[in-house]
């Protein structure tokens, strides 16, 4: 073979080989997002197609949880949780209003902060979402089959419950802790009516561990631990190697009770509180601590009737730190730390130093060594303080100003947000070396990566939950939605893809792969399984029953009429219970119910469900009612009348549909 022929063979063969490689790579490798000129294509979800992730965002002062699709940022739904919701009747209807009962009475609003999905083996399992009310200490459980709040438990002996609702690796416990320490009743404290200036002597914090029933999800307070009156701020359960532990940041180790802005920022270091919850659980099981009288309400949707019930609870077991030898430690952390996040392996525990410029990252294995070697510098409230240098893995230097939170991508990187310098900083998880930084708009709080607090994060996107919106969208007067930002973190450099406005002020979010949730959604309730005491399963059974001044209307709704739709014989002074059953058995065919002048909310009734609104007519007249959810082409016709006569009238009770009564 001549050299020419040989070269030609190599040349042709090479080209052919290259073209094969080119074709295969063009065909199979995912499109690299980095360097793409058009970020819009990276977040574009075509009409009729679904997003890849659900993002559950706490609404902050909306008291609810909002759901967005990622990467599009589309608002999918808002789940009513702690706030009465007149738009669908949550917290107003007879079936749901008990959900907002507390030992203080009916509290119609809450302040939601930290969304925590349930986990199995340290990964999300798509069963439930837990979320706290910071104001009136409560934890709610949302059922991800229905996107509804199924349960709310009040937490006694605590206040300002910010450090909550964190979930352990197998959803054994949810943790909820005191931010605003308070005086506690005897025998825990010296009573609740004490001078505020006696803070150091009379105020206390508590750590609460709420046991979750693995089958039903039902919550019960397992036990509480009384701790010194610092402000417990955030927390995370350990993962993997550290899964038996739970970690909380706290500030105000100064124990200030006024002008905390200044007086709680005096010390160079505050603390991380680390508790071995397995050992604490054992101590409680062994009967340590004491059962303390404590009033708190436990509200849950009765699985049989679908009606929310309130159980009034009377006592709780409280452990002292002396009951937890070898199971509770403080680790110093600079300076008024805020967020705390455990890495996917469970080895690294990073805090947002808030008033510091470094992000301290503790090592779980070093912490274990320090415990074994008794490497402490004294104690506070019976809790040994481990030496900072002995537990520290590294400090992330040049982490920006006002670092608040850390998140992980599962690919060996940590990301911290900076409130003051408005940026995201990416660093190497083994060394803390800063690798990239990107401005954020503006003043970022929490960060979220899908599964970012699990053993296996989906390191594709990162969402910055920004606290200040200002000029990012068309102005809407003095008040506006919060602005979130979606970053592509799949490459070496972070890339900003999308701004999207969200309702309320999300403090925290959790992204869950859609595939864990979108199958098995409840689309309608089976009428045959409806055991509401006031259900009307078929139109023929619709009726109106008077019992003294109470009138019960058993009504059905189907496209597009109510039965009965004419009612006479109601009198001023009556209390009328309108029990409306939607007898449809199809997805997305709710009916609504609204009554003119009713001093109550409207309600939406899902297919197969019964909802009850109470109406107390105050004046004689004929009152129209109608369906508020556009249900068919004859939706406008879905209407009826109730005749209300004076209290002394002798008009007989009568009712019907499609006949004169």
């Amino acid at each position: 073979m001549s050299i020419y022929k040989c070269l030609k063979k190599l040349y042709v063969g090479g080209i052919a080989l290259l073209s094969i490689v080119f074709v295969i790579s063009g065909c199979n490798s995912p499109k690299s997002k980095i360097g793409s000129e058009d970020a819009a294509t990276d977040v574009y979800v075509p009409p009729g197609k679904h997003d890849k992730y659900y993002s559950f965002m706490s609404g902050g002062w909306t008291g609810n949880v909002s759901v967005y699709g990622i990467p599009s940022g589309r608002h999918l739904y808002t789940i009513p949780v702690f706030s009465q919701t007149p738009t669908n009747g949550y917290g107003y209807t007879e079936e749901t209003k008990s959900m907002l009962n507390t030992s203080f009475g009916f509290v119609p609003w809450g302040d939601t902060h930290h969304v925590q999905p349930s986990k199995t083996n340290g990964d999300y399992d798509g069963r439930w979402i837990f979320i706290n009310d910071r104001n009136t200490p409560r934890i709610a459980r949302i059922n991800l089959k229905t996107f509804r709040t199924d349960e709310i438990i009040e937490i006694p002996n605590t206040a300002g419950q910010h450090s909550s609702a964190f979930c352990s690796s197998n959803t054994e416990y949810i943790s909820a802790n005191t931010e605003y320490s308070i005086p506690l009743p005897k025998p825990l404290g010296n009573g609740v009516d004490v001078p505020i200036k006696s803070y150091k002597k009379n105020f206390h914090g508590t750590i609460s561990l709420i046991k979750v029933n693995q089958k039903t999800g039902e919550m019960n307070i397992g036990f509480q631990i009384e701790v010194p009156p610092f402000d417990y701020d955030l927390g995370r359960f350990g993962l993997g190697v550290s899964k038996d532990w739970v970690f909380y940041t706290c500030y105000n180790s100064e124990e200030a009770h006024t002008l905390l802005e200044v007086n709680a920022s005096q010390k160079d270091k505050d603390f991380v509180l680390a508790v071995n919850w397995k050992k604490a659980e054992q101590a409680a099981a062994d009967g340590k601590g004491q059962l303390v009288s404590s009033n708190y309400d436990h509200n849950f949707r009765d699985p049989e009737t679908g009606v929310v019930k309130t159980e009034v609870m009377k006592q709780v077991r409280v452990l002292q730190t002396s009951d937890l030898k070898g199971a509770i430690y403080y680790m110093p952390a600079p300076k008024s730390p805020h967020g705390i996040n455990v890495s996917p392996s469970g080895e690294y525990i990073a805090e947002g130093g808030k008033l510091s410029t470094v992000v301290p990252v503790e090592s779980f294995s070093k912490m274990q060594n320090a415990i074994q070697n008794n490497d402490t510098t004294g104690s506070l409230g019976g809790i040994p303080i481990l030496k900072y240098e002995s537990v520290l893995a590294y400090e992330v230097k040049n982490a920006g100003l006002g670092p608040l939170h850390v998140e992980y991508d599962g690919n060996g990187h940590g990301y911290n947000s900076d409130f003051i310098s408005s940026e995201i900083v990416k660093w190497d998880l083994k060394t803390g070396k800063v690798l990239d930084r990107h401005p954020a708009y503006y003043s970022t709080g929490h960060l979220t990566v899908a599964g970012g607090d699990t053993r296996h994060p989906f390191g594709e996107y990162l969402i910055a939950l920004n606290k200040i919106t200002k000029d990012r969208y068309l102005p809407t007067g003095p008040e506006m939605f919060a602005g979130e930002q979606l970053f592509d973190i799949s490459g070496n450099k972070m890339k900003l893809l999308l701004d999207f406005p969200v309702e309320g002020e999300p403090h925290n979010a959790a992204e869950i792969p859609a595939s864990l949730i979108d199958t098995g959604q409840v689309k309608y309730f089976k009428l045959s399984d409806n055991h509401n005491p006031y259900v009307t399963r078929k139109e023929h059974d619709a009726k109106v029953v008077r019992n003294g001044k109470r009138v019960d209307v058993y009504m059905t709704a189907i496209r597009s009429h109510f039965t009965p739709d004419n009612i006479e014989g109601i009198k001023v002074g009556d209390t009328v219970y309108m029990h409306v059953t939607n007898i449809e058995q199809e997805w997305d065919i709710p009916h609504g119910f609204a009554m003119k002048g009713n001093l109550n909310a409207g309600m939406l009734i899902m297919p197969g469900e019964t909802r009850t609104t109470v109406w107390k007519p105050l004046q004689p007249g004929v009152y129209p009612f109608y369906c508020t959810d556009f249900c068919s082409a004859l939706h406008q016709e879905m209407q009826g009348y109730v005749r209300v006569s004076p209290a002394n009238s002798d008009i007989k009770l009568s009712y019907g549909t499609n006949k004169d009564i």
Partner: protein, 159 residues
């Protein structure tokens, strides 16, 4: 040599084709989900409707026991919109089993949305009555009982 080149190019072409045909099939799938597959009904579908019942039914004389069960189901699931002997929200069903085949009646109960969208007769009825018939998610067995009840109320039925 030339043969080797041809083989290489054939492989390349084959792979490219595999690649583009993958894309094409995805697009087709995407289209198929949004497109209404109206028109082109088979003779069977025109006579017997579109739905899970794909064979003609020959029910024979009315089975009273089954009809009794069917009445219960009818009262529970259908009577909000249908009466026997009068037009209500939907058509009078007294002699529906004279107007339609048994399989058609079954398919209308089991696939009401598909029927009103795709079957010309059902679509015309939607135009007339304006309210989409509700899917009550009856099982096939339950729908069969309701069919038997409707046969029992039809004076022209074979008793």
């Amino acid at each position: 040599m030339e043969r080797a080149i041809i083989v290489f190019f054939l492989i390349t072409a084959f792979l490219s084709w595999g690649c583009s045909s993958n894309k094409k099939s995805k697009e087709q799938k995407a289209d198929g989900q949004t497109e209404r597959a109206d028109g082109g009904l088979t003779q069977f579908q025109i006579e017997n409707g579109i739905g899970p019942v794909t064979k003609e039914l020959e029910p024979g004389p009315v089975n009273d026991e089954m009809a009794a069960k069917g009445k219960e189901l009818f009262d529970q699931n259908c009577s909000s919109c249908h009466k026997i002997g009068e037009r209500y929200v939907g058509p009078d069903l007294q002699d529906v089993t004279s107007r339609r085949t048994p399989a058609y009646v079954m398919n209308m109960m089991l696939n009401p949305t598909g029927m009103t969208q795709k079957h010309p007769t059902a679509h015309k009825l939607l135009e007339k009555f304006a309210t989409q018939m509700a899917n009550m998610h009856l099982t096939r067995e339950q729908a069969r009982s309701v069919l038997e009840y409707l046969r029992s109320v039809n004076p022209n039925s074979q008793k």
